[in-house]
């Protein structure tokens, strides 16, 4: 419980001097694991740092989508990045981030999964995206999403020689139709704030993460225990649509 965050918000101020609808400075670095990953990126939102890497392999498609590639998104909240994360199998927080990031990418149809098919029903490309925070200073949802899509953007197919993957050589990039971006907005009392820090996250009454591609909404995830009115929800979505324009420019 941090009382002063609420008192500051009553004056429309935040701890770090930002406006309520302002993101912290965002930096994206590509190819941070270029010698091993097919694609990789590190995203910094203020002091929050997240790294994502793409590995690809050939595997069997799912039964119900025999001519589509497979995407798997996995986020590990490693205890390196925060005193609050524990060792062990992914807890519900990691699982939520993994699934929310996955949803935005999958539902946006940004990756043309058909183009990942090698032999219908038998061989398709599997795209693994693994996400690790390096420092949790709040808003891992957005940093993880940005890192994932940046890593996918950076990714190149490994060469295939006689049906086997040769990781030493890479060819062209993944077939990307667009870049879905996520924007996380929270509410404390009746104040709406963008890009919450750790301390602000602890005080959030409600949180909405919106996945957007172009002008379309491709995923929604509400968190927090307080309900949102329809009006508040619409206001938040409008704000998100505005904010992602700025995020997209960083990619």
């Amino acid at each position: 419980m941090t009382i002063y965050i609420k008192t500051l918000l009553e004056k429309d101020m935040r701890e770090d001097g930002r406006k309520l609808d302002e993101y912290r400075p965002i930096k994206i670095q590509y190819g941070v694991s270029a010698k091993s990953a097919e694609g990789s990126a590190k995203v910094c939102i203020g002091e929050t740092e997240v790294i994502a890497g793409v590995k690809m392999d050939i595997g069997k498609p799912f039964l119900d989508t025999p001519n589509e590639g497979v995407l798997m998104v996995n986020a590990e909240l490693t205890p390196l990045s925060s005193p609050e994360f524990q060792l062990g199998p992914p807890d519900i927080e990691s699982i939520e981030i993994s699934r929310v990031v996955d949803r935005a990418i999958r539902e946006s149809k940004a990756i043309d999964f058909g183009k990942l098919c090698i032999k219908k029903g038998e061989e398709v490309w599997m795209v693994f995206v693994d996400i690790y925070p390096l420092n949790d200073a709040g808003n891992l949802f957005d940093a993880a999403s940005l890192a994932a899509i940046a890593a996918i953007k950076d990714a190149k197919f490994p060469e295939v020689v006689k049906g086997k993957v040769n990781y030493k050589k890479h060819a062209k990039g993944l077939p990307l139709k667009g870049t879905p971006i996520s924007c996380t907005i929270g509410m404390i009392g009746n104040k709406i704030l963008v890009d919450p820090t750790n301390e602000e996250e602890k005080e959030l009454d409600a949180r909405l993460t919106i996945g957007i591609m172009g002008n379309k909404i491709c995923s929604l995830q509400k968190g927090g225990e307080k309900p949102l009115s329809i009006e508040e929800t619409e206001k938040i979505i409008d704000l998100a649509l505005k904010k992602v324009k700025g995020l997209e420019k960083k990619l």
Partner: protein, 231 residues
């Protein structure tokens, strides 16, 4: 087999390029990054803090716990399945043993000092990179230390003792691969692991070569530590 040169052009006693930075994880009590060649290790220290479960506590002094993990995309071949495996658990153990001798944990009775090592990219020499990063991170965290620790992998390839082996060199038939850690001032061995079969004289020569390399590494570690605070 007579070895005349190394495939990447390095001298026999030359290490790959090293980069070291301290204070890279702001939330941690101490942190550092150590890069050697293409191996990149991050280390973060949290502590002293409460040790759970209670039965693991030591009432006479604090406990160092090290966890080593490779990020799924950090290997040059296939994806590495996330989660601890036997190899990473063993590396965590030897890392603990490599660092505990220099730490003064007497004021942290019943508590833990936790070190988390993550590999962003791996290209041989990773456990040594992890130890170098962890040593800097512990100093950054203000944990009292009697000495610094540096680690390097050396080995016998053909008829030569080589410093900082690449994966290629490790894979040469009958190559011997040794991971060693030394304390800086004391020159004492705190990590010693070896794969292969060699003569006693080769062990001596390898340890000498490792000590020289570790002296160079410790200078880089010290500089990185001072750089963080010298604004």
């Amino acid at each position: 087999m007579k070895l005349t040169k190394r495939s990447d052009g390095r001298k026999f006693d030359q290490m790959r390029e090293i980069e070291a930075k301290v204070g890279v994880v702001k939330r941690a009590d101490g942190s550092a990054m150590f890069k050697i060649g293409n191996s990149i290790a991050y280390a973060a220290v949290y502590g002293p803090r409460e040790l759970h479960p209670g039965h693991l506590q030591d009432p006479t002094r604090g406990k160092l716990r090290c966890n080593y993990n490779m990020m799924a995309f950090s290997g040059s071949g296939e994806r590495v399945r996330p989660g601890p495996n036997r190899r990473s658990k063993e590396i965590g153990l030897v890392t603990e043993k490599a660092l505990t001798p220099v730490l003064d944990l007497s004021h942290y009775k019943n508590m833990a000092v936790d070190v988390f090592i993550e590999l962003v990219q791996t290209d041989s020499g990773t456990r040594c990179a992890g130890i170098c990063a962890a040593a800097m991170a512990l100093a950054d965290a203000g944990i009292p230390m009697r000495d610094m620790v540096s680690a390097i992998a050396v080995g016998k390839v053909g008829d030569k003792v080589l410093v900082d082996l690449t994966k290629e060199e490790e894979d040469v038939e009958e190559a011997v691969d040794m991971a060693v850690a030394f304390t800086t001032r004391g020159g004492e061995v705190t990590l010693l692991q070896m794969d292969g079969i060699i003569e006693k004289s080769d062990v001596k020569e390898s340890l000498k070569a490792a000590r020289k390399a570790c002296e160079q590494i410790s200078k880089i570690q010290m500089e990185a530590l001072k750089k963080k605070y010298k604004k």
